[in-house]
Symmetry: C3
Subunit: 680 residues, 3 copies
């Protein structure tokens, strides 16, 4: 549906008419248009503007504002206001509130303090959404709708009584009987058997806050289910009443949601809120050797996996920060442009800045918008105007697809298991970071690909190489899909602990890597975290060092499988660390460790997919390369994150879309400078 | 009223007759007198000694003890016992307890576990105070009264239901209508509007414990209001019944109190509890480059701003420490004297040690008094005797005023806003520390001056130079006062972010520095925290480096305002960092950054007020200088905080009050040694 | 009774028939036997297998399993299942749950979430224990019983209402009247007097969570009382029904229990759970200079003080770790043997591994057993078999006693006071660690000895030297015992702060060291923590440096007492730091500081007990020596904790029990290697 939504690169801004005197509205809209802004996102926290008291509905405020938008030709994305229930609501119906595990209710005064499962909140939310949809569903100024605001932002755990009630229903639906629940949750351990559904709760306070890990895994699936269900409720109401030309989206990307499924089932497009300045925190966490703002490219890669042509609903335009925390410096001149280009480089066809003017009161007086409190033109507004001109030059790129040839496989079961399981987490976090870093530093663009139950082989076959770092949880269905991928010519790279768990998080009584042992050609003979009492254990691969950090599976190879590298120290010195197995037209590489920048680089080189456009351009490490493709034409996005100029070398003639000229040989990107080039 | 209270330098000690067998009382009093102690502070935790069960009053215990005091000629400061409600009270009336934000009551077993607003606690407190006042109000042994003990010590936040009830009344009084409350609290942000007063609470648990910042600011004002109201209730009862020769005071100096107003409205004098040994904690926080025990001079400077001739109700005499925390070494020989002199150097005319003998049970067995558990004479008692002799020699100084020519401006609105606002806090804390450090290390004595609504220009005019580091919050009244000060010849130094907020903490839609822009001759064009990705940004001032740390306002000068210094790096290199503007007979210096030891030193030198007594004496950095003045005579206090001897050079002949002789040229202060000299 | 229990060195394993399909049982038992395992511990969490619903009892499951054990000749230790109450129980009777101080109940889902004092839990526990005892008390396969599992593991503090009720009874029993309670708790401080028993609680939330220290001390005694009472209840039920040949034990060693008394009054033998791999944590706490896994020898020394011939109910066989925390590496090849030998070296005559096969679900999927999930033979099973063979060779050692000549004195009053009192804790922790480290590094085996009210002089007289580091709490009875010990020839070493408190934790009004001043020949003139502002203060002893860290008692010697060492810096330079006093046939050494590796070594050397077997063998620091003695024969256990070989030198001919040959001169212990030698 994406094509329907973004036909051209479009610029927007978030606006809050309820924060300003009406006398400012017209001037604001005209200055926006003057800057190239054609869309505004509004109303996502404005419940009281429609229902100031329970059951009393009024539409005057937004009718007046939307009339002005229509008059000024400004397009509007309209938010449903359910992220901030009114004080009158939560005071009268505290059962709508979210709670801490000990039952303490999370009260009015922040945002997202509701739970998804309270019948009363569902009822009141459905009513306000329906009232708004009925009233505004055909409004000519409105082009799209945003559901709520940032589902699962602020918190992605829920402990209200309503959540326990809903969790029981979710589990009854999933398991049917308590016997099956007991089996799935391994309640034989520590005498945890349930004999009545009323004994089952969302995680509650326990000693050490230790909970059954299978319950915790199902609890995360339940939260995703709750969120989806709440989003679907709103989307269905909207669809009944809004004009067909309007789209439905939501914004942000937060935990404990199957964003892919939500997008597929409820949305027309997905939008992300991109704040790369979080990469420069004042709290002492800043590490100049890290990728900092460039790490947002990893988030954007995930967004692209959800929706190839997405939008940015909130693109950073000034310093971020709440009154209470998250202090950061102002974006440097050029960074607003850089980060806008970063979004487009990864597939964003809509860039909507947050926000027009910094709020003059409340928690977010330091979450700066384009304009400051003083409302004067400033350097940021100038930069927005330049981005606007840039976007016009880049219109040919609108709708172009990622040209990556490597994908990182992920699935929600393993992502959530790594939250529950500290051993899993110690593998997943560094490995996923390593794949991203290797991609960035070697200019090997990669995609993320999330395995779902309905994933088709053809989707995977687009990628010559797949990395699935630590698929502890595997299902037969997924193992079959991987087997087919490899048999048809794909290269699959797996790390340690693969195949250790089933879908419930139990450990099947079979040697690892379990369900994929037939395609890896390996058995895990022994395994250990690297000992803090020993030096790091590496491997030797054709006489060269291969990093094998954190955790080691000590492998045995079978059949024709070939040992590529062997551990070089500790009690398993000389044992296989990396095994390659030919399967059909493809192969599996099984690495008995966590991934690192070094070993991912070695593996991608071995697989022949490292730095795939080296023939066309040579780039310093400090410049990011992404490649988008449309109608057979490649667009190379070059992004300099450094405060120093960087030199790029083109080995063939390319044309710069931003400047119009052609270049061959070296070119200098200024500090924070960007370009997009293509080969004619 | 101060003169009335302390006619001569006086020495006291805290005593707890209820902790000891009566057989010890007489010996204790006689040994005190032998050491030069003429006053004791008693009874401040002894509620049960008057009302062992609800409504049963008895006076025998203290009657007996006070008779002995009268007989022995010992003067008594008598404490009201409301800091420790009895077990029977809080068990029967748990509504009197303070609570955590989640409602958990803070129970019996510690101290100060009550709230100020419970009607029942008000009633029971009023009754016990009245009973005691009626019974002892004319007692010949009593010279003064202490209200409660250390208001807002242990905690300065209150979350009981009674506090919410009182907060609503406070807000109704302040705002009249909910509409005005909603406006003042900016409830348009995040849909926080209140439609019923019952929806308004003291801060409650929210997600991230994030609260409306304007509510938080008012909440602090409310706590100050509650404390004042509770203190006033007690003071008014006492005044009705006590002899006119007796004074009323309270002790300590803690947060969320307008101590100036409380002193003005309720007290005859203010006393402070001084424990400089906290500067040597065992928990690893000790930094030998810090000012450590000398930092208590900063507290004493604040105390002096509340009450120029104050007392020390609890002066450290031994190691501090609860059973559970705050472990520290024993004060070294000489430090008891040094810290007593530190108090007098800053204006204390009464030194009352805590405590006569270390308690043998309870939480404070390590909060050592003069004597140890064993009750033997010891080195500390010897030192007290020497201080006693010293005080006799210093009697001419009693009532002398501070001779500082520089003042640090402060106001409670900005102090409390900096608690609420992390951005503000990152400015205020280092700047205030820098002013103190520069004062100490350059021997430029300074005062603190708190702006209140009724501050008069004549009060400010005593100071040729005022530093008001980060007056984010400004009112028109305060801006007018500053303007008048400057016009009449004063020099006003302002730092970054001045004028950013109004009294509610909203950001007015005007360029900074807002209400004082006319006297600074500046506009803030852009602003940013210094980026962790960049090297520290400094400025150049006539070719010399000027530190401009933490946060930068990038200034523009107007009219005749003169750019003194420009930033030397980052994207705003070359932009104005320090602007001077002549206004009437005076001038404003606007610095676009936080203050540091280096830049405060530079600014004070530029203003001609650095090291004002350099002609008279030359001091090493390790010695503190304070100067008191009386009847045209200056008294120079010299305090050596080092464990090594320090050499002082007198450029003219001075007379030592402690030794009686005259000196010219160099003199050695022994380790922890002190002296007071004057010029005849 | 120990001899009755362990007649020979025995190997066992923990097994959970309820975790596995019945089809695995026989194979498991047979493979165990094949490995030399003759005993299994079962059922300690299996309440639901007997009582799946309230009042419905069933025995089939364990009847079937025990029949198989009988058939296979496997001996069984049977656990009472009270550590994990069923979900039906805690859902219906939440009063059985433990709670946080704020009253939040600790819910189902972990283990040990019950409290000892709920009448309902007592009733249900008694019933299930009785039902099992009646049904299985004569079962031929059962050889012993384990009470509950790891009393006071997970948490050793209890805050339920039932605990408050029981605490009041405990205090009424102890004090009789509130007047006496008030006196004992020093309630005169901070007006804490109780006037009704209903005002008395277990510690509740207070400001700073600060509580009356005397209450806290009694609260720990109360927990020990509760645990003992609960254990006794179970033991008495069992004794009524089980066969006389069966023994009763419990496992683990956790806080707030008088394990000595519990063992004496309720058990036939004591067993410990030994997990030395906690010495290699992944969380960054690992310090390669520390003793790491060797620190478990300190725990085993404590276990030996409780029960000289104990068992290990859970001996580490694989990596430890919950899903949520405590990640660790796999034990290296050889460490399983090393740690088994470590247990035997300290007196264990029974080694029962945890567990047969790693659990495939639940919180402990990473608490690895001998076998992995895949159930294949592995290196750990091979190593168990080798340990089995080794144990046969070591059978002569069974029942041998420790030959240590030095003991560390301890008592529960001081141990618990050091938890309550941060000043005490800063002394006790480093001193106890120092004694252990000096013992290990100088090969001076030591015992721990716990003083109880019924300790007899003859028990102490076994040790020529006793170290009682910081007996802050002393009773006249204990002082008398120490006096008698010294008079009859013993050497007693005391550290700073000795004799500072009475049994209630009050500080008597007498000079330190109080009740033992007559035998130390000293008075403490002054005292101080070492100041962070000064360099560490040491002493000089005959021209050599003696460490005197952390806290200094500045001593004065009396009578014939001799000053051995004097402080060398700070204000007490030249004052006595170490005083020796001859008393009767013995002597007391009073050190005015905390103990350190250096000063303990110096003191033991001075007392002539350092490295007592140096004539026989010379050992590198990395090898532990323990010596057991039986029928006049010494057995030297040599344990190499290093991953490198270590060389031992025998100065006389010894015979290796493990290899059978004799050695003289040097011998190499392989990495993690061990041996036991004797002199023929």
């Amino acid at each position: 549906m994406a094509a329907k939504v973004w036909n051209r690169l479009t610029m927007g801004v978030c606006y809050y008419p309820e924060h300003w005197d009406k006398s400012l509205w017209q001037d604001d809209l005209r200055r926006m248009k003057d800057a190239g802004i054609t869309v505004i996102r509004i109303a996502e926290f404005a419940w009281n503007k429609f229902e100031p008291r329970e059951g009393e509905f009024t539409y005057d405020f937004f009718d007046e504002f939307l009339a002005l938008c229509e008059k000024e030709g400004m397009q509007v994305i309209f938010g449903t206001p359910t992220a901030t229930p009114p004080a009158w609501l939560t005071e009268k119906y505290p059962e709508c509130l979210n709670a801490r595990p000990d039952g303490t209710l999370l009260r009015h005064g922040s945002r997202r303090h509701y739970n998804y499962n309270s019948p009363k909140y569902r009822e009141l939310s459905a009513r306000i959404v329906e009232k708004i949809a009925v009233h505004l569903g055909q409004h000519p100024a409105i082009v799209g709708w945003q559901l709520d605001n940032e589902f699962n932002c602020e918190t992605n755990v829920f402990y209200s009584n309503a959540d326990t009630e809903a969790f029981r229903l979710f589990l009854q639906e999933k398991y049917g009987t308590l016997e099956k629940l007991n089996q799935a949750w391994g309640t034989a351990f520590w005498n945890q058997d349930y004999t009545d559904w009323q004994q089952v709760y969302v995680p509650r306070p326990t000693i050490h806050d230790n909970h059954n890990p299978h319950q915790e895994l199902d609890y995360r699936r339940f939260i995703a289910h709750s969120t989806l269900s709440f989003a679907r409720m709103q989307a269905e109401i909207l669809r009944k009443h809004i004009d067909k030309r309007m789209f439905i989206t939501t914004n942000g990307m937060f935990g404990h949601i199957d964003n892919h499924r939500m997008t597929r089932e409820c949305l027309d497009t997905y939008t992300y809120d991109s704040y790369p300045n979080f990469g420069f925190p004042l709290d002492g966490r800043f590490d100049p050797k890290e990728l900092n703002d460039r790490k947002w490219s990893r988030n954007l890669t995930e967004v692209r996996s959800i929706c190839p042509h997405f939008g940015i609903m909130e693109q950073q335009s000034g310093s971020n920060g709440w009154v209470t925390r998250m202090e950061g410096p102002a974006p440097r001149p050029g960074q607003l442009t850089l980060w806008s280009m970063q979004s487009m480089a990864h597939g964003a066809d809509f860039i909507c800045y947050f926000r027009w003017r910094t709020c003059a009161f409340g928690t977010e007086i330091y979450w700066h918008g384009i304009l400051n409190y003083d409302n004067r033109d400033n350097r940021r507004l100038q930069e927005v105007k330049r981005v606007s001109a840039l976007m016009e030059k880049l219109q040919p790129v609108c709708g172009a697809a990622s040209a990556a040839k490597v994908a990182l496989l992920r699935d929600y079961d393993n992502l959530w298991d790594a939250e529950v399981d500290a051993w899993h987490r110690r593998l997943q976090d560094p490995s996923e970071k390593a794949v991203f870093e290797a991609s960035q530093r070697t200019h090997t663009p990669y995609d993320m690909f999330f395995l779902h139950d309905d994933t088709q082989l053809c989707e995977l076959k687009r990628y010559p190489v797949l990395i699935y770092p630590h698929a502890l949880i595997l299902s037969a269905k997924r193992a079959d899909l991987l087997r087919a991928y490899v048999q048809q010519g794909g290269t699959l790279i797996l790390g340690c602990r693969t195949g250790m768990k089933d879908m419930n998080g139990h450990c099947p009584m079979q040697p690892m890597p379990g369900l994929v042992a037939d395609i890896t050609g390996t058995t895990v003979e022994d395994f250990t975290f690297q000992s803090p009492a020993e030096a790091p254990v590496n491997a030797l691969w054709d006489g060269e060092m291969l990093e094998t950090p954190v955790f080691n599976d000590i492998l045995r190879s079978h059949g024709d499988a070939k040992v590529l590298a062997r551990f070089d120290s500790s009690y398993y010195r000389g044992e296989p660390a990396l095994v390659e197995n030919q399967v059909g037209k493809g192969r599996v590489l099984h690495l008995g460790s966590v991934f690192s920048l070094q070993n991912v680089t070695q593996l991608l080189r071995y697989c022949g997919v490292l730095t795939p456009w080296a023939d066309t351009l040579e780039l310093p490490e400090g410049v990011e390369l992404t490649v988008r493709e449309k109608d057979g034409r490649l667009y190379f996005f070059l992004l300099n994150y450094q405060s120093e100029p960087q030199t790029v070398v083109f080995n063939r003639e390319v044309r710069s879309l931003t400047r119009g000229d052609t270049v061959c040989g070296s070119m200098t990107l200024p500090p924070f400078g960007t370009d997009v080039v293509t080969i004619d």
